[in-house]
């Protein structure tokens, strides 16, 4: 496997260091060749930077990609927005030689060059494609059989597909495959692919952002999901933090939000404390308690031999 840099992005490092923790724990468990790289800036966040200055958006992303290009390694990120923004710019520049030359003439002044040769991947498709479900199954200590999990892909894990090219943009399957590989049921529900709506919280529309969160969380409550699993810090902010704010106003929906790396970490045998799950705003203990209870139930095959050899055999 080619070495890769982990691109943490601003949100995880600023607000959710425990996500960095669980990500490192799972990367290390699988002995994946990752490293930390000096000099990254914000990816940059598209809805903010691109709306104000497209040139700054392109240049900043191109510089970040140039840092991994230079080292001749790939890039993996546990943030959907970061990967999507970096890949969008990589795609734009690789398709426009003139723009690429323009960008490179600027980068040259600070001693860098954008080649656009490194592979940029989000952690979920990376685990699906590069690690593989088979290897994951070999490694885990305990799976999630009996748990009912709702998935939230996060728009930017899969779109824009011309840049990311990692799954079907309108009917993705890889995250589902991973969850099923971990033994859980991946629930199908009507708002499954709906955008989280966190973007509204970045343009002074907090109430509208809550409206979006509410739609999905209410549906999850109605279908009895044990947790919402996702792998994007913005989506996490939307469903954990904003759900908590709703709870404080008396609207309790009670859906535990679990990061993909935390779910994987649990199955590898790490505790909720080690993974930082206890740092979430929304209490995850109902999810953990149910999982605990399921695993203390005897497997269906227990006692089968006694039944076969006991006095009642053959009457």
């Amino acid at each position: 496997m080619r070495e890769f840099a982990v691109f943490w992005g601003c949100t995880i490092q600023t607000r959710f260091p425990f996500i960095e923790k669980s990500t490192r724990l799972v990367l290390e468990s699988f002995q994946l060749p990752y490293r930390d790289v000096d000099g990254f800036t914000c990816c940059p966040e598209k809805s903010l930077v691109n709306n104000i200055d497209h040139g700054a958006f392109v240049l900043t992303a191109a510089r970040n990609v140039a840092l991994v290009d230079e080292l001749d390694i790939d890039l993996v990120s546990p943030c959907t927005g970061c990967v999507s923004n970096l890949a969008t710019v990589k795609g734009e520049l690789n398709a426009n030689p003139r723009e690429k030359a323009e960008v490179n003439s600027l980068l040259k002044e600070v001693g860098r060059e954008f080649k656009g040769s490194s592979r940029l991947q989000h952690l979920v498709p990376f685990f699906h494609d590069a690690v593989g479900i088979h290897k994951i199954r070999q490694k885990i200590k305990r799976d999630f059989t009996g748990m009912r999990i709702a998935l939230h892909y996060g728009c930017h894990m899969i779109r824009p597909s011309h840049a990311l090219k990692n799954d079907d943009p309108l009917n993705p399957v890889k995250f589902d495959n991973l969850i099923r590989g971990l033994g859980a049921e991946s629930l199908q529900f009507s708002s499954k692919l709906m955008c989280c709506g966190q973007g509204l919280d970045r343009v002074d529309e907090h109430d509208r952002a809550l409206d979006f969160a509410r739609i999905k969380l209410k549906e999850l409550r109605a279908i009895g999901a044990d947790a919402l699993v996702l792998c994007c810090p913005s989506c996490f902010l939307q469903f954990d933090n904003n759900q908590f704010l709703m709870e404080k106003e008396g609207e309790k929906l009670g859906i535990p939000i679990i990061y993909f790396t935390e779910l994987l970490g649990l199955s590898l045998g790490y505790s909720a404390e080690e993974l930082g799950i206890t740092n979430h705003r929304i209490d995850c203990s109902p999810f953990l308690a149910k999982w605990e209870e399921l695993s203390s139930r005897p497997a269906p095959s227990v006692g089968i031999e006694a039944g076969l050899t006991g006095p009642n055999v053959l009457g």
């Binding site: 490092q13 923790k21 990254f40 709306n51 104000i52 700054a56 240049l59 709506g197």
Partner: protein, 154 residues
């Protein structure tokens, strides 16, 4: 240099299509959010009336419209272009202004939370690229200014 552009030919097709309206999450959930109306106005040369509307900031950039568009264009391009123009006139939401200021100043949208890193036993954060970024951004602005001058003398 490096500016986003609107494609009127593609917008012309949009005005006769509207297919992505039925998949767009903002169209479905935000009363009054309707890029079809925006596109009609752009084509009629009346885009100005949307510049101070909050609706142009309600596009979630989820790229649904882009994915299902037969011309691989998407409502979002029209919305982005209007946001660009609005931002240039200083009509962007205060939160966006604050975020942009922070980005230009620090090259990031927040700094690593050091006490929490310690608590979780995380390594020291890697060196920031802020200084190089600022230099690069200043270069971009210089080039733009020089380009504008050239345009004027032509």
């Amino acid at each position: 240099m490096l500016d986003a552009k609107l494609n009127f030919k593609l917008l012309e097709m949009c005005s006769r299509c509207g297919a992505c309206y039925s998949i767009c999450p903002s169209c479905m959930n935000i009363p009054g959010y309707d890029p079809r109306a925006v596109i009609k106005d752009i084509l009629n040369g009346e885009h100005e009336k949307w510049l101070s509307s909050r609706h142009i900031w309600e596009c979630l950039e989820c790229h649904y419209c882009l994915e299902m568009c037969y011309q691989h264009y998407g409502f979002e391009n029209a919305m982005t272009a209007l946001r660009n123009i609005a931002a240039r006139k200083g009509l962007h939401p205060p939160q966006v202004k604050r975020g942009w200021e922070m980005f230009v100043k620090t090259s990031r949208l927040g700094e690593p939370a050091l006490p929490a890193r310690k608590k979780f036993g995380l390594p020291e954060p890697k060196a920031s690229g802020a200084e190089e970024f600022r230099k690069l951004y200043a270069l971009l602005q210089e080039r733009r200014a020089a380009g504008n001058k050239e345009d004027k003398t032509k």
